[in-house]
């Protein structure tokens, strides 16, 4: 109710900040939609577009009316706002190279500027007036409104994405796809001419094995680094260390993939005497390098959040440094550390480009770190580009998307439950 009033009502008052906060986005939207966008193709969309613009104009008028009230002027002053409109009609009537045409433009610009200055820059009357009480805090509701929009939009986006992915895959998921075969068969032949088989078992196994390997490498290093940075490091070294780690996080994944394809490939061939270096180990190392920065920075925050009194109390009781870390800090920061590990794992599961380039991209049941594998994400990335939109193969790739969604959802759910369990005990 509060928000409907702040957007659409012409009663009451509003201060300058509120006027700007509501009007700037409107000006920008209208300017963009009139100048750059093509008018939407269908009649339905055209009407929606029109309604949206009309809504924005309403908000502009309502807010401006309240702004005039704030200055103890009646809403009739809004009539100045239509001079540009009248002028634009006149522009249609007047032929371009004429005195009238120039005059109309000057009038338009002057009134626009004047109303903008009058409403946007000058304060309203101090204290109450005939239209309402003092408006000093009225812009806070507007800020409230924007913050709520941000919160709601996050939820909307998640559901929107899920809806889209599900919609694209739903047709084949419910009619035609053998779900048992989809989950348990290792035969991935999406483009066979007379015997199409959609089995993702090898792909799921590939995703899990490379993620597990990455975590095996990344978690000890990540947590160790976090403990070092938060407990042992001198403050100066700490700053440098954090900058370097953040730099590691800023390297794009295609660069990691390229390093895997060339440098790490050579190294694995040399060190392990392997036939080819594009293996699960290669992908696992790349993913570990990518998730270590996340694990370090979140784990370090979690350790920092443990109150110093805990450390002091433990040391007062005669605990050694190691005992303080092992017995006091790690248990106290448990939730944060778990969150760090799970976010690192989520990064690994979702990573596409690096694993596409480094793991060999081969439908294969892995039998060790030197076997080549293929992940769910890499399959989508490699095949979606050249697939006929709406076809069976296309839909199966979206069903893989649903599968990935489900996997991450389960991981997050487990994490939530574990954290809740830890809290209760």
């Amino acid at each position: 109710m509060k928000f409907i009033h702040i957007l659409f009502s012409i009663n009451g008052r509003i201060n300058r900040a509120g006027w700007w906060l509501l009007n700037l986005p409107i000006f920008v939207t209208i300017a963009i939609s009139i100048t750059t966008f093509d008018f939407p193709a269908t009649l339905f969309l055209e009407h929606i577009h029109l309604l949206l613009l009309l809504g924005l104009v309403w908000i502009h008028i309502a807010v401006s009316a309240r702004r005039w009230h704030d200055k103890d002027k009646s809403a009739w002053w809004l009539l100045f706002h239509i001079t540009p409109l009248i002028c634009s009609i006149c522009v249609y009537a007047a032929k371009p190279p004429s005195v009238w045409w120039d005059l109309i433009h000057v009038i338009t610009v002057v009134t626009c500027l004047w109303t903008c200055v009058e409403l946007g820059l000058f304060k309203g009357t101090a204290g109450g007036n005939q239209y309402g009480p003092d408006s000093e805090t009225s812009s806070e509701t507007v800020i409230d409104f924007y913050i709520s929009i941000c919160g709601i939009s996050a939820i909307l986006f998640v559901f929107g994405i899920f809806f889209f992915v599900f919609k694209e895959g739903a047709g084949f998921l419910f009619s035609g796809l053998n779900i048992w075969e989809f989950l348990t068969s290792e035969e991935w032949y999406p483009t066979s001419l007379n015997n199409k088989r959609y089995g993702t078992f090898a792909l799921v196994l590939g995703t899990f094995s490379v993620t597990a390997l990455a975590m095996l490498l990344a978690v000890p290093f990540g947590l160790g680094a976090a403990i070092y940075v938060s407990e042992f490091c001198s403050p100066k070294l700490k700053e440098t260390f954090k900058i370097v780690i953040e730099f590691l996080a800023a390297i794009p994944s295609v660069v990691w993939g390229f390093i895997g394809l060339t440098l790490m490939n050579e190294m694995i061939i040399k060190v392990f005497n392997a036939a080819i270096g594009l293996t699960m180990l290669n992908g696992g190392i790349m993913l570990a390098l990518m998730s270590v920065p996340i694990i370090v920075s979140i784990a370090e925050d979690a350790l920092k959040a443990v109150p110093d009194s805990y450390r002091e109390a433990a040391e007062a009781l005669g605990a050694t440094r190691w005992q303080v870390i092992y017995r006091v800090l790690l248990p106290a920061a448990k939730n944060g550390l778990l969150a760090a590990v799970l976010l690192g794992a989520a990064r690994s599961i979702g990573e596409t480009m690096a694993v596409l380039m480094a793991t060999g991209h081969s439908v294969n049941i892995p039998d060790g770190p030197l076997s080549w594998i293929r992940t769910l994400t890499a399959t989508i990335a490699a095949e979606l580009g050249e697939v006929a939109k709406g076809g069976e193969h296309y839909q199966v790739l979206f069903i893989i998307g649903i599968l990935l969604f489900t996997i991450t959802f389960i991981v997050n759910l487990i994490a939530d439950l574990v954290i809740k369990g830890i809290r209760q005990s």
């Binding site: 008018f39 029109l50 009309l54 008028i61 009316a65 009739w76 991209h361």
Partner: protein, 303 residues
């Protein structure tokens, strides 16, 4: 007095609404008339192998000509020819030659004969590491290496000792399963009834295939013959062990003796005229052929 502002609002919004309406009418009517008079459209449909090439041609051509836009769609050589028979496209892309029956049908349906243009070649070379002693291979051997439940998995089964490859296992390099290259190679080796064995490294791009083979002693792979580097070797290919072997080069491709190559065709209904003729001429010119080479196909002549 309470409703004063409301009345103002209604008046204003009616004004805005009507003016906005005028603006829309005007601009949209302008656009339509512009579209009908200025632009002419060439409809181009067919082979999926050629769809990227056709798209690249269309894009490059739109930079040259403002008045012609080329609409490209895929769907396969068959759909392209079908559309040609129905007279719904100007140019059909085809990665196989048109059948006499289809030619007759087109003649009967539209009164015009399909005219054939060879616009480039699609030739795949079989690559191995440069230190691999193997020089030549037959199609049946390749089929046993790549095909489902194939019998050749070790290098010595091909009659050579690949010293650089310790495990002696053949590492098959392939492409992602819906690329045109993959489709063509599978068809050339195995026909339409057999699939590739899983467990090959399905790389994402013709360049990557050659790159990886150059670093891997055990690897064999296929890619466009334009991608060769110093680190790899192209094998000579024969259709059977008692047949002559042919190296993948331009002469053999054009002479149709190299077995894993095919011409790429474009068909127009009757002798092309006007914009379609200009477009086809441009495709056959050195500028159009440069794009053929850029996309990994074989141009008609070396530039």
């Amino acid at each position: 007095m309470k409703y004063r502002g409301l009345i103002i609002y209604v008046a204003l919004s009616i004004l805005v609404f009507s003016i906005y309406g005028f603006v829309i009418r005007d601009s949209s009517s302008e656009k339509q008339s512009g579209g009908e008079s200025g632009q002419s459209i060439i409809k181009n449909k067919g082979s999926d192998t050629m769809v990227n090439l056709a798209q690249a041609w269309a894009e490059a051509y739109s930079d040259i000509s403002d008045t012609v836009s080329v609409e490209v769609s895929g769907g396969g050589s068959g759909t392209g020819v079908a559309a040609l028979i129905n007279g719904t496209v100007d140019i059909a892309n085809c990665s196989r030659q048109i059948k006499p029956k289809e030619k007759d049908e087109a003649q009967k349906n539209t009164g015009k004969e399909p005219i054939e243009f060879i616009v480039g070649y699609d030739a795949l070379a079989v690559y191995v590491h440069k230190d691999n002693p193997l020089d030549r291979i037959t199609i049946p051997e390749l089929a046993e290496i790549y095909g489902e439940e194939g019998e050749i998995t070790l290098w010595h089964q091909l009659g050579t000792a690949n010293a650089g490859c310790h495990s002696d296992k053949i590492i098959r390099i392939s492409r992602q399963s819906n690329s045109g290259t993959y489709f063509y190679f599978r068809e050339a080796l195995l026909g339409k009834d057999r699939d590739f064995e899983l467990g090959s490294l399905d790389l994402h791009g013709s360049k990557d295939v050659v790159e990886v083979i150059g670093r891997t002693h055990c690897a064999i792979g296929y890619s466009g013959m334009g991608y060769a580097t110093d680190h790899v070797k192209m094998l000579e290919v024969a259709t059977a062990s008692d047949q002559p072997y042919f190296a993948p080069n331009l002469e053999n491709v054009i002479a149709k003796t190299y077995p894993i190559a095919r011409p790429l065709y474009m068909y127009s209904l009757g002798e092309p005229t006007g914009q379609a003729k200009a477009y086809l001429d441009w495709i056959l010119s050195s500028e159009g052929q440069k794009i053929v080479e850029e996309l990994g196909f074989v141009p008609l002549t070396r530039n």
